[in-house]
């Protein structure tokens, strides 16, 4: 398998990034070089290897309320707010 050609703008758009033409050119070259290096992985035999770490019982949370932030603290970093709601520009479907 050889390194794929990434459509940088499509991928950037999935990540909600807009790239300048300069960035697009530079990143394309750099990423194809990096992906080229990653091709070494395709040669590793991994048939019998479990994909994720074996399960352990983590500490779950009991269903008991703990204090929330005050409304003031919760909104303290909001770039725009009104009536205790965080405001954003129009949401288009």
């Amino acid at each position: 398998m050889s390194a794929p050609q990434i459509n940088i703008s499509d991928v950037a758009s999935l990540a909600r990034l807009t790239l300048t033409p300069d960035e697009t050119a530079k990143f394309s070259a750099q990423l194809s070089q990096i992906l080229g290096h990653m091709e070494t992985l395709s040669q590793i035999a991994t048939g019998a290897v479990p994909e994720v770490t074996p399960p352990a019982q983590p500490a779950l949370r009991q269903d008991i309320p703990t204090p929330s932030l005050s409304i003031e603290a919760a909104l303290s970093n909001a770039p725009a707010q009104a009536n205790d709601l965080i405001l954003v520009p129009r949401i288009l479907e």
Partner: protein, 486 residues
């Protein structure tokens, strides 16, 4: 031109259910609606940098319980995944959900015939007794609530991160009525397990519908359309009825069905295109590295098992067998566990248990009581039924006792005494009334003897009037007949 009868619809549902937990899915904020905006948020559910999720074990138990109630296969190890997409109501711009290893897979929802729309409960469709297969049940976090203003939107993050259980059905449903019954039947199970209040009109249960049509007999599915903005069970039914007709009309005109999401407008009674699905979302699911796999086989599953309630289908058969109620009554009683418990108490000692059911479901229920708090003891209904059964009062008197019971709750025996209602069953007293009736109505006597048997009713009426309604009508009937044929 072919008739619409040659088409069938193929329907699948995705049902989101809010769980009855104290706290959110991954943080300790209160899981409660209707409070001041932004009053139940913390670094975790606001997606602040550096915060980490920790799963609510009760939400996992409730999901496992749902799986147990619906006969799902329960995963010994379940995982949480990240579903990536940007939306302002989603604080992290990924939703913690389950993709590859959900808590429950498979399962069945039996359709309760009496949870079909009323007017089609007598049809073959309702009586078919179908069960709908489930694909899976998984647990995820809900998003925040947005409010749309003219040029801006406001977001309240109180709902963000609350537990949400998603139940996905196979495309087994064929009619709007079945979809209606599916939601009702599923709700009964969720209520039985105290998993959710599951009220669609309160948003506690939300439903997306996938629907397509195909000619009857064809195996392949048609092009699927997703319906959104369905806010009630009847809305689901109306939307499906409209949409199926729309698709059939389009197909018969030779038009192609677009693969799209359509919005149901309840006011307009129609669906409208929301967005086309040319470009599928790329959600880039991957296991959430902040959350270790959850072992359900180390106590969680056992804890869920101890909470298994009597399922609606089991309860209904028991009611029919043990109390002689009708299937319809069993369904009504099964739908309200508090009322059902009330009924069971009422009927426990009664001789005529089926009569108790009639009193409670017809007369009592029409007064819109709260069986949990009513001062009318359930035992009163058992007593009332017994008073009729043993001939102490007749059914007309029973109505009076019932009215008095509602107005001034007391034991029906007391009421009978208080109102002096006891039925006259004394043969000699009744014989005197009957003789008077025969003497006063020679024409009716003549008619009766001439073969007009209905004429006896006038004589009976006379006796009832004379006895102020206290005469035992069955005995009066017997005595009159004996006297007339003598």
């Amino acid at each position: 031109m072919s008739t619409p009868a040659k088409w069938e619809a193929v329907i699948g549902l995705e049902v989101h259910v809010q769980l009855l937990t104290q706290t959110k899915m991954f943080c300790g904020c209160t899981n409660h609606y209707g409070d001041a905006p932004t009053s139940h948020v913390c670094p975790v559910c606001l997606g602040l940098p550096g915060s980490l999720p920790v799963p609510n074990e009760e939400a996992i138990r409730l999901t496992l319980l749902t799986g147990l109630m619906l006969g799902c296969n329960l995963a010994p190890v379940a995982r949480f995944d990240r579903k990536n997409y940007f939306y302002p109501d989603m604080p992290k711009n990924y939703q913690i959900s389950q993709y590859d290893d959900p808590l429950c897979a498979g399962g069945l929802v039996p359709l309760d015939p009496f949870l079909f729309p009323k007017e089609i409960q007598d049809t073959a469709e309702a009586k078919a007794g179908r069960s709908i297969r489930l694909t899976r049940i998984h647990l995820e976090e809900d998003v925040a609530k947005s409010f749309h203003f003219e040029d801006r939107s406001g977001i309240d993050f109180n709902r963000a991160g609350t537990p949400l259980m998603e139940i996905v059905s196979e495309a087994d449903l064929r009619t709007p009525g079945e979809a209606f019954s599916f939601l009702g039947s599923l709700r009964q199970v969720l209520l039985a397990g105290h998993v959710s209040h599951a009220d669609m009109e309160k948003g506690q249960m939300r439903c997306d519908v996938n629907v397509s049509i195909r000619p009857i007999g064809q195996k392949e599915f048609g092009t699927k359309v997703e319906l959104k903005n369905l806010n009630s069970t009847s809305g689901v039914r109306r939307a499906l009825t409209y949409e199926i007709a729309r698709q059939i009309a389009a197909c018969e005109k030779g038009e192609a069905i677009a693969h799209e999401t359509r919005r149901w407008d309840d006011q307009a009674g129609a669906t409208f295109t929301m967005r086309t699905k040319e470009k599928a979302h790329d959600y880039r699911y991957f296991p959430d590295p902040d959350l270790l796999p959850v072992r359900t086989d180390q106590g969680l599953l056992e804890a869920a098992r101890t909470r298994l309630p009597e399922l609606p289908t089991v309860l209904q058969s028991r009611l029919i067998q043990a109390f002689g109620v009708t299937a319809y009554q069993a369904s009504v009683l099964g739908a309200d566990r508090v009322l059902c418990a009330y009924f069971e108490k009422a009927a426990a000692q009664a001789k005529s248990k089926a009569t108790v059911a009639n009193w409670i479901l017809n007369d009592f229920l029409s007064t819109q009581p709260d069986p949990a708090t009513t001062p009318i003891l359930p035992e009163f209904f058992g007593e009332l039924a017994d008073l009729v059964a043993d001939g102490t009062i007749n059914s007309a008197q029973a109505k009076k006792v019932f009215a008095e019971l509602m107005a001034n709750p007391a034991s029906p025996r007391e009421i009978v005494k208080r109102l002096g209602l006891a039925q006259i069953s004394d043969v000699s007293a009744l014989g005197t009334y009957c003789d008077e009736a025969i003497a006063a109505n020679p024409r009716s006597v003549e008619d009766y003897r001439a073969g007009k048997t209905n004429a006896i009713n006038a004589l009976k009426g006379f006796v009832m009037k004379k006895s102020q309604g206290k005469a035992n009508p069955l005995q009066v009937d017997e005595i009159l007949k004996a006297k007339l044929s003598a």
